[in-house]
Amino acid sequence: MVTLAIAKQTLEDMLRRKILLILLIVAVAMIALGPSVGFLSPRESSAVLRSLGLAVILLAGLLITVLTGIQVIPTEIERRTIYTVLSKPVQRYEFVLGKFLGGLFTVFVMLASMGIVFLGVLRYQEGRFSPDMVMGVIMTFFQMMLLGALAIFFSTFATPVVNFFMSFGLFIVGNLSSVTESLLENKNVATRAVATLVHYAIPNFGNFNIQNKLIHPQVVIKNLNMFIMQNVAYAIIYSAVLLILAIIVFDRREV
């Protein structure tokens, strides 16, 4: 109950932030205006619309997630609102979890809003519902959950500005999983060592990008459900580990 109360407060606080609303409005406008890119054949246009929609949702989701994750805890300390909260019968782990969940709810609300507009536009353009795109948005959500947990962990010891670059940097490196995977076979021992470290220690954000697989049917995924379940489990377990680390650091932190 305490954790949920903190999550609710965090969600309401974040939804009052103008920057997030602006990001949402811009993203929704881009998705809605997608169909007016009018120089393509119907088949091409469908693929472009899907790529564009998922890309916009990913990009906006990325900014929203990082901006939320880097600030939910530091803002409490900076505005000194944390004093009244932590002097109540609130365990520090409840505080960290509440902040994480509040951020996650925020990202969920934002992604869901964009996703609904996106699906609506597709339905209007193509005259039918696209369940595969729902999957695409859900994958983005779990990818963002992992990124959010990473940003929360960094926020327990890094300043928001440093955290912004750390989170973004790791997101980019983590998206190159296919590159590091290929380097695992490299002949050079040093290259192999670095690639192994990067491949296994850094969250594998690339795995969640099923857009290509969804949009280009020639790429075959043997068992889509299995693939999705694996990624969801990966996101949850990795996030849990990051949150435990965040709690360990935050427990010793002076506020």
């Binding site: 109950m1 000194r80 004093y83 002097s87 109540k88």
Partner: protein
Amino acid sequence: MAAAVSIQGLTKTYLDVWTKTEIRAVDRLNLEVEEGEVFGFLGRNGAGKTTTIKMLLGLIFPTEGTATVLGKPIGDIGVKGQISYLPEEAYFYEGMTGWDMLDFYARLFRISEPERSKRIQKALEDVYLDPSAWRRPLRGYSKGMRQRTGIAQALINDPKLLILDEPTSGLDPIAHAELRDIIANVGRQGKTVFLSSHQLPDVELTCSRVAIIHQGKLRTVGKTAELTSGDTVEIVYKGGDAALLEKIRKVVGAGEQSNGLGRVPGVAPKDTNPIVDLIRGAGAEIVSVAPHKRTLEEVFVDTVMKETGS
């Protein structure tokens, strides 16, 4: 009576990043606050009051020493349900309404409905927050209204111990007086109040006992009445002439006469009888022999100046 707060050798050192020197914000502090008293914790800016309070609440960790709050070690979650805290220049979520803010804190105290709404209403009434402001965002509150809401927040769990860090600083005189009365009222309800302040007249009015800290060290602790009661008396008499005044001045080095009244301040106990004898011997009439009371401010200034050696 049991101790509400018991502090043993509490020490907090900070490292000054620029000069690489150690700052002893709190230095081997020992203190006992009894249950049910309104206790004044006095000190100048930077004396170490806030640092002490934050250690008691587990927000920062002592370098050395220990403390118990309501009989349990620092940070005990069960105890946190029975205490409350109003931080110095309290900060709250600006977008929330007063009511929602109290609802949030009541949830943190695990108070469920319908009890929660009742408590919120009572707390807001207890601090006389204008009901038309209850559903407005804190953003539009005046400093006095914020501070009232802050006290309401500290009353929501019906605490045994309230820790208030300079609750009246920065308020206008009316808001200030009202807030002081609210705090005095809380004290009359039998709750223990640990009041950090440098508003000495307030403390003198509301606190039964005070401690003075300076540069992190405890300098004085005692009952307010005892600290302010001086050991000299003031003697006033009627009649008498310049010769009498001259004789009195020879004994105590002070005294004045005007409008037929003589006044002799700061008479030490050993001089009281001789002066009275002098006055009566000269055929004048004793009007009063009254103990001279020092203000807390004088006590404070004396204590702090003595320690500074200036």
